[in-house]
Amino acid sequence: AQSVSQHNHHVILSEAASLELGCNYSYGGTVNLFWYVQYPGQHLQLLLKYFSGDPLVKGIKGFEAEFIKSKFSFNLRKPSVQWSDTAEYFCAVNACSTGTASKLTFGTGTRLQVTL
Protein backbone atom coordinates (compact mmCIF):
# COMPACT_ATOMS: atom_id res chain seq x y z
CA ALA A 1 0.00 0.00 0.00
CA GLN A 2 1.13 3.53 -0.70
CA SER A 3 2.00 6.06 2.01
CA VAL A 4 2.87 9.75 2.06
CA SER A 5 5.19 11.66 4.37
CA GLN A 6 5.16 15.41 4.84
CA HIS A 7 8.18 16.54 6.78
CA ASN A 8 7.06 19.96 7.94
CA HIS A 9 4.07 20.11 10.24
CA HIS A 10 4.00 23.85 10.82
CA VAL A 11 5.83 26.48 8.81
CA ILE A 12 5.90 30.19 9.59
CA LEU A 13 7.12 32.60 6.92
CA SER A 14 7.12 36.31 6.35
CA GLU A 15 5.46 37.69 3.25
CA ALA A 16 7.70 37.54 0.17
CA ALA A 17 9.75 34.66 1.57
CA SER A 18 10.22 31.59 -0.57
CA LEU A 19 8.41 28.38 0.27
CA GLU A 20 9.28 24.73 -0.13
CA LEU A 21 7.18 22.00 1.47
CA GLY A 22 8.50 18.48 1.38
CA CYS A 23 6.54 15.42 0.31
CA ASN A 24 7.80 11.87 -0.08
CA TYR A 25 5.76 8.83 -1.01
CA SER A 26 6.35 5.13 -0.89
CA TYR A 27 5.08 3.06 -3.80
CA GLY A 28 7.11 1.18 -6.35
CA GLY A 29 4.82 1.59 -9.33
CA THR A 30 3.33 4.41 -11.35
CA VAL A 31 1.69 7.15 -9.35
CA ASN A 32 -0.33 10.27 -9.79
CA LEU A 33 0.59 13.03 -7.35
CA PHE A 34 -1.43 15.90 -5.98
CA TRP A 35 -1.19 18.88 -3.71
CA TYR A 36 -4.42 20.01 -2.10
CA VAL A 37 -4.92 23.18 -0.08
CA GLN A 38 -7.43 23.95 2.64
CA TYR A 39 -7.87 27.62 3.43
CA PRO A 40 -9.34 28.49 6.83
CA GLY A 41 -13.02 27.59 6.90
CA GLN A 42 -13.04 26.23 3.36
CA HIS A 43 -13.05 22.81 1.76
CA LEU A 44 -10.07 20.98 0.32
CA GLN A 45 -9.28 22.10 -3.18
CA LEU A 46 -6.77 21.04 -5.77
CA LEU A 47 -3.62 23.13 -6.06
CA LEU A 48 -1.82 21.11 -8.72
CA LYS A 49 -1.37 17.57 -9.98
CA TYR A 50 1.14 15.41 -11.80
CA PHE A 51 0.10 12.57 -14.07
CA SER A 52 2.89 12.24 -16.62
CA GLY A 53 5.23 14.25 -18.82
CA ASP A 54 7.10 17.32 -17.60
CA PRO A 55 8.04 16.64 -13.97
CA LEU A 56 7.78 20.35 -13.16
CA VAL A 57 4.12 21.10 -12.68
CA LYS A 58 2.61 24.54 -12.36
CA GLY A 59 -0.58 25.09 -10.42
CA ILE A 60 -2.79 27.92 -9.33
CA LYS A 61 -1.68 31.05 -7.48
CA GLY A 62 1.98 30.74 -8.51
CA PHE A 63 2.61 27.35 -6.93
CA GLU A 64 4.68 24.68 -8.60
CA ALA A 65 5.89 21.21 -7.71
CA GLU A 66 8.64 18.99 -9.03
CA PHE A 67 8.32 15.23 -9.31
CA ILE A 68 11.67 13.52 -8.74
CA LYS A 69 11.07 9.84 -9.37
CA SER A 70 14.46 8.70 -8.07
CA LYS A 71 13.78 10.38 -4.74
CA PHE A 72 10.07 9.49 -4.55
CA SER A 73 9.47 13.17 -3.90
CA PHE A 74 6.97 15.81 -4.99
CA ASN A 75 7.93 19.01 -3.21
CA LEU A 76 5.77 22.11 -3.41
CA ARG A 77 7.36 25.51 -4.05
CA LYS A 78 6.44 29.14 -4.37
CA PRO A 79 9.05 31.88 -4.90
CA SER A 80 7.24 34.55 -2.87
CA VAL A 81 4.41 33.78 -0.47
CA GLN A 82 1.55 36.09 0.34
CA TRP A 83 -0.49 36.45 3.50
CA SER A 84 -3.41 34.88 1.64
CA ASP A 85 -1.40 31.66 1.26
CA THR A 86 -1.98 30.93 4.93
CA ALA A 87 -3.60 27.49 4.83
CA GLU A 88 -3.03 23.81 5.35
CA TYR A 89 -1.36 21.94 2.50
CA PHE A 90 -1.78 18.24 1.85
CA CYS A 91 0.24 16.04 -0.45
CA ALA A 92 -1.57 13.00 -1.85
CA VAL A 93 -0.71 10.02 -4.01
CA ASN A 94 -2.82 7.76 -6.17
CA ALA A 95 -1.26 4.43 -7.04
CA CYS A 96 -2.17 3.79 -10.64
CA SER A 97 -3.82 0.55 -11.62
CA THR A 98 -5.37 0.23 -15.04
CA GLY A 99 -9.13 0.32 -14.94
CA THR A 100 -9.46 1.03 -11.25
CA ALA A 101 -10.81 4.16 -9.72
CA SER A 102 -8.61 6.74 -8.03
CA LYS A 103 -7.94 6.29 -4.35
CA LEU A 104 -5.95 9.09 -2.80
CA THR A 105 -3.71 8.55 0.19
CA PHE A 106 -2.97 11.81 1.99
CA GLY A 107 -0.08 13.01 4.06
CA THR A 108 -0.62 14.51 7.49
CA GLY A 109 -0.54 18.05 6.15
CA THR A 110 1.60 21.14 6.66
CA ARG A 111 0.14 24.21 8.24
CA LEU A 112 1.58 27.34 6.61
CA GLN A 113 1.31 30.63 8.44
CA VAL A 114 2.38 33.74 6.56
CA THR A 115 3.00 36.85 8.62
CA LEU A 116 2.86 40.42 7.42
Partner: protein
Amino acid sequence: EAGVAQSPRYKIIEKRQSVAFWCNPISGHATLYWYQQILGQGPKLLIQFQNNGVVDDSQLPKDRFSAERLKGVDSTLKIQPAKLEDSAVYLCASSLDRGGDGELFFGEGSRLTVL
Protein backbone atom coordinates in the same frame (compact mmCIF):
# COMPACT_ATOMS: atom_id res chain seq x y z
CA GLU B 1 -21.24 23.71 -11.59
CA ALA B 2 -22.60 22.79 -8.16
CA GLY B 3 -20.09 21.28 -5.78
CA VAL B 4 -20.29 18.35 -3.42
CA ALA B 5 -23.00 18.97 -0.84
CA GLN B 6 -22.82 17.62 2.69
CA SER B 7 -25.04 17.88 5.73
CA PRO B 8 -25.14 18.54 8.55
CA ARG B 9 -22.10 20.83 8.82
CA TYR B 10 -21.83 20.31 12.56
CA LYS B 11 -23.10 17.66 14.93
CA ILE B 12 -22.56 17.17 18.65
CA ILE B 13 -23.64 13.91 20.23
CA GLU B 14 -22.88 11.90 23.32
CA LYS B 15 -20.98 8.65 23.16
CA ARG B 16 -23.06 5.60 22.31
CA GLN B 17 -25.53 7.73 20.36
CA SER B 18 -25.93 7.40 16.62
CA VAL B 19 -25.39 9.92 13.84
CA ALA B 20 -25.82 10.02 10.08
CA PHE B 21 -24.19 12.18 7.45
CA TRP B 22 -25.46 12.81 3.96
CA CYS B 23 -23.59 13.56 0.77
CA ASN B 24 -24.71 14.58 -2.69
CA PRO B 25 -21.85 14.37 -5.20
CA ILE B 26 -21.32 16.41 -8.32
CA SER B 27 -23.74 15.35 -11.01
CA GLY B 28 -22.31 12.64 -13.25
CA HIS B 29 -19.49 11.67 -10.93
CA ALA B 30 -19.36 7.90 -10.72
CA THR B 31 -17.01 7.58 -7.78
CA LEU B 32 -17.83 8.73 -4.28
CA TYR B 33 -15.56 8.68 -1.24
CA TRP B 34 -15.93 9.15 2.48
CA TYR B 35 -12.84 10.31 4.32
CA GLN B 36 -12.29 10.83 8.04
CA GLN B 37 -10.05 13.71 9.07
CA ILE B 38 -9.03 13.76 12.72
CA LEU B 39 -7.60 17.02 14.02
CA GLY B 40 -3.93 17.30 13.11
CA GLN B 41 -4.02 14.44 10.64
CA GLY B 42 -4.58 14.03 6.94
CA PRO B 43 -7.81 12.64 5.54
CA LYS B 44 -8.12 8.87 5.81
CA LEU B 45 -10.23 6.93 3.35
CA LEU B 46 -13.13 5.10 4.98
CA ILE B 47 -15.04 3.84 1.97
CA GLN B 48 -15.10 4.25 -1.80
CA PHE B 49 -18.08 3.62 -4.07
CA GLN B 50 -18.09 3.18 -7.82
CA ASN B 51 -21.68 3.83 -8.84
CA ASN B 52 -23.67 1.58 -6.46
CA GLY B 53 -20.89 -0.81 -5.56
CA VAL B 54 -18.25 -0.67 -2.86
CA VAL B 55 -14.70 -0.53 -4.25
CA ASP B 56 -12.81 -0.32 -0.98
CA ASP B 57 -14.03 -0.38 2.61
CA SER B 58 -10.93 -1.91 4.16
CA GLN B 59 -10.49 0.93 6.66
CA LEU B 60 -14.14 1.26 7.65
CA PRO B 61 -14.77 0.12 11.26
CA LYS B 62 -17.65 -2.11 10.26
CA ASP B 63 -18.75 -2.86 13.80
CA ARG B 64 -19.98 0.72 14.13
CA PHE B 65 -19.76 2.44 10.75
CA SER B 66 -21.96 1.77 7.75
CA ALA B 67 -22.41 3.53 4.44
CA GLU B 68 -24.64 3.16 1.46
CA ARG B 69 -25.06 4.75 -1.91
CA LEU B 70 -28.50 4.13 -3.22
CA LYS B 71 -29.13 4.54 -6.96
CA GLY B 72 -25.51 5.50 -7.48
CA VAL B 73 -25.99 9.13 -6.46
CA ASP B 74 -26.45 10.28 -2.84
CA SER B 75 -24.72 8.54 0.00
CA THR B 76 -25.14 8.31 3.76
CA LEU B 77 -22.55 7.43 6.36
CA LYS B 78 -23.80 6.22 9.72
CA ILE B 79 -22.05 5.74 13.03
CA GLN B 80 -23.74 3.63 15.69
CA PRO B 81 -22.77 3.67 18.49
CA ALA B 82 -20.37 6.59 18.46
CA LYS B 83 -17.15 6.61 20.46
CA LEU B 84 -15.09 9.56 21.66
CA GLU B 85 -12.41 8.78 19.08
CA ASP B 86 -14.92 9.25 16.27
CA SER B 87 -14.71 13.02 16.79
CA ALA B 88 -13.49 14.23 13.41
CA VAL B 89 -14.49 15.92 10.20
CA TYR B 90 -16.15 13.55 7.75
CA LEU B 91 -15.38 14.53 4.20
CA CYS B 92 -17.27 13.43 1.16
CA ALA B 93 -15.60 13.62 -2.23
CA SER B 94 -16.50 12.63 -5.75
CA SER B 95 -14.66 12.16 -9.00
CA LEU B 96 -15.53 11.72 -12.63
CA ASP B 97 -12.67 9.26 -12.76
CA ARG B 98 -11.77 7.94 -16.12
CA GLY B 99 -8.97 5.42 -15.85
CA GLY B 100 -7.96 6.16 -12.30
CA ASP B 101 -6.42 9.56 -12.89
CA GLY B 102 -9.29 11.68 -11.74
CA GLU B 103 -9.26 14.71 -9.50
CA LEU B 104 -11.29 14.46 -6.31
CA PHE B 105 -13.73 17.24 -5.48
CA PHE B 106 -14.43 17.65 -1.79
CA GLY B 107 -17.40 18.92 0.13
CA GLU B 108 -17.04 21.22 3.11
CA GLY B 109 -17.25 18.34 5.54
CA SER B 110 -19.36 17.40 8.53
CA ARG B 111 -17.71 18.10 11.86
CA LEU B 112 -18.63 15.55 14.52
CA THR B 113 -17.98 16.08 18.21
CA VAL B 114 -18.60 13.13 20.49
CA LEU B 115 -18.86 14.01 24.20
